[in-house]
Symmetry: C2
Subunit: 322 residues, 2 copies
């Protein structure tokens, strides 16, 4: 499971960071998911190996512009470049209202279907290899985290059961191993009865804007990775006041430490923080504050960084392909 | 008067071209105007000397996504970075409807006023040094050209008239020269009675999507520059059919030739045309088709190019500042 950061800035883009967007790639290579879609996300995608034709679903954490203003252009471009497969869009119900109004007023007819699912009404979804579920957060408007959990981690055939039930050897076994329920000569075999899983599922939690990390305590159970905002340092958060609805580097690090999370990836940095640490304040300021309170593996996300969560549950930053 | 191209691609962005956006800078250095605002226009602006704080007005040619999806993010960022001055937005009435709906649904409250002016109801505007007027075009949806005309080209004091009427020498003369009407000891003097203009006004016409260039015949009167779309070559236009609503390089060149326009700047190139002429088809293909039918000065716009129309009515491409 890979993550590609498409935008790591809060509120406004900067010359080196776009507003929010994060690609979650399925292990199978058969598709990917987009969490948030700030303005310019489609432009960022042009600079990655990602294609709008293999995008499975879009998850919007909350209805603020820096998390969704890229949606109409992204779906319009997917249509103009020939996408025909339906696209699932999960998010607060106002996303559907806004996007359909926008497409209508701007005369945009898509050659594929949009399947909207309101996160207020449904909180679990499936994809090729993942279970996805949503967790409510605390922000100025309703905001959610999305959790991506591997559905079938390290499947192994249970040979004793297959032989006991006389399941004919050959292609049937392969289909059961891949998760298919199969029929043979009037008998039905359920994959789950003949497959065991040999390791813990990989689990990545991607949070929207949130000023109460502790709301994610249950969601972090079994998660190897939390991607969370750290909009500013604790002193700036204090000056911004409680109405801003954001977490500080200190606050989220303290939570991750208490929860025993192995990997914490921070993102959504206020535009005041420079990428270049020769300029103050820089993201290094945020990193230092978080590192002082968190002993796990800490990463400060940058646009276009690609991370891989391997089968052993270890997260690594992949080298820049350029 | 300068032009800075912020996007020169039709429909979808490419790695080297953004969708439509063009900055028109006033001679005075006191402000600028934006014609069209495709997604990512605010990102492009970050790479120019332009500031969202000195933007006077936005003119939208028509309500298609590649010409307006950047509006909500641009005004939101202007607010977040401290703009307080009102901003005029001119365009089809649906622009107001869409933008206000968008800002409301996404919880965006601006710290400055938006002054909407529907081009269906008003077609003339003023700024510091320019008259601006709108001209209807032909496209799949209502589309307009905006024409920027210098209001006071080369003002000179009419000394004979000043002396004849006994207008006191000194600061009053300077104010009259700058266009102010003034009062002195109960007498009122109108600037227009004491100032003459020593040259033709500069005039730049910026068109939206349009499949009938001849609609601009009157608008081109006295214009030194026409910025117009040339979405594809004539043969591709033929294949696209009459419903596409676009001009070919051939069609617009033929019009500019017939009209005797001194400078033609083409833009809004289909994403199929590459910037790099080692790849076919490239924008060079479009240039060749236009050049074969137009004897004036022909320019193929590129993102971030800056053009200057000087006082003698000559247009030049300024060197890249990098």
């Amino acid at each position: 499971m890979d993550l590609i950061f498409l935008g790591t800035s809060a509120g406004t883009p900067t010359r080196s960071r776009n507003v929010s967007g994060l690609a979650v790639l399925e292990e199978s290579g058969r598709g990917w998911h987009l969490v948030d879609c700030g303005e310019g996300t489609q432009h960022q995608i042009l600079r990655t190996p990602l294609s709008l034709h293999t995008l499975e679903s879009i998850f919007i954490t909350h209805v603020h512009g820096d998390h969704c203003y890229g949606l109409p252009g992204l779906v319009a471009s997917a249509g103009l470049t020939g996408r025909r497969a339906p696209l699932r869009i999960v998010g607060p119900a106002d996303i559907e209202r806004w996007l359909t109004t926008t497409l209508t007023l701007t005369g945009c007819t898509l050659p594929f279907e949009l399947h909207f699912e309101a996160v207020e009404r449904t909180s679990q979804w499936q994809s090729h290899t993942l279970h996805i579920d949503a967790w409510p957060l605390s922000h100025r408007v309703p905001s959610y985290a999305y959790r991506f959990t591997e559905a079938r981690p390290g499947p192994q055939l249970a040979f004793a059961s297959l032989e006991r039930d006389g399941v004919p050897k050959g292609p049937l076994w392969g289909r059961l191993l891949r998760g298919e329920d199969v029929e043979n000569q009037g008998r039905r075999f359920r994959s789950l009865d003949y497959v065991t899983f040999d390791r813990e599922p990989r689990r990545i939690l991607v949070a929207g804007d949130n000023d109460r990390p502790e709301l994610l305590a249950d969601a972090c159970d079994g998660a190897q990775v939390l991607v969370h905002e750290a909009t500013y340092t604790a002193d700036v958060a204090e000056r911004a006041g409680p109405n801003a609805g954001h977490s500080s580097a200190f606050g989220i690090a303290q939570f991750a430490q208490a929860t025993g999370l192995p990997h914490l990836v921070l993102t959504h940095f206020s535009a005041r923080y420079q990428n270049d640490e020769r300029h103050s304040p820089s993201i290094e300021t945020l990193r230092e504050e978080a590192a002082a309170h968190y002993d796990g593996a800490l990463f400060m996300a940058k646009d276009f960084q690609r991370y891989r969560l391997d089968k052993h549950g270890a997260l690594m930053l992949l080298p820049d392909p350029a």
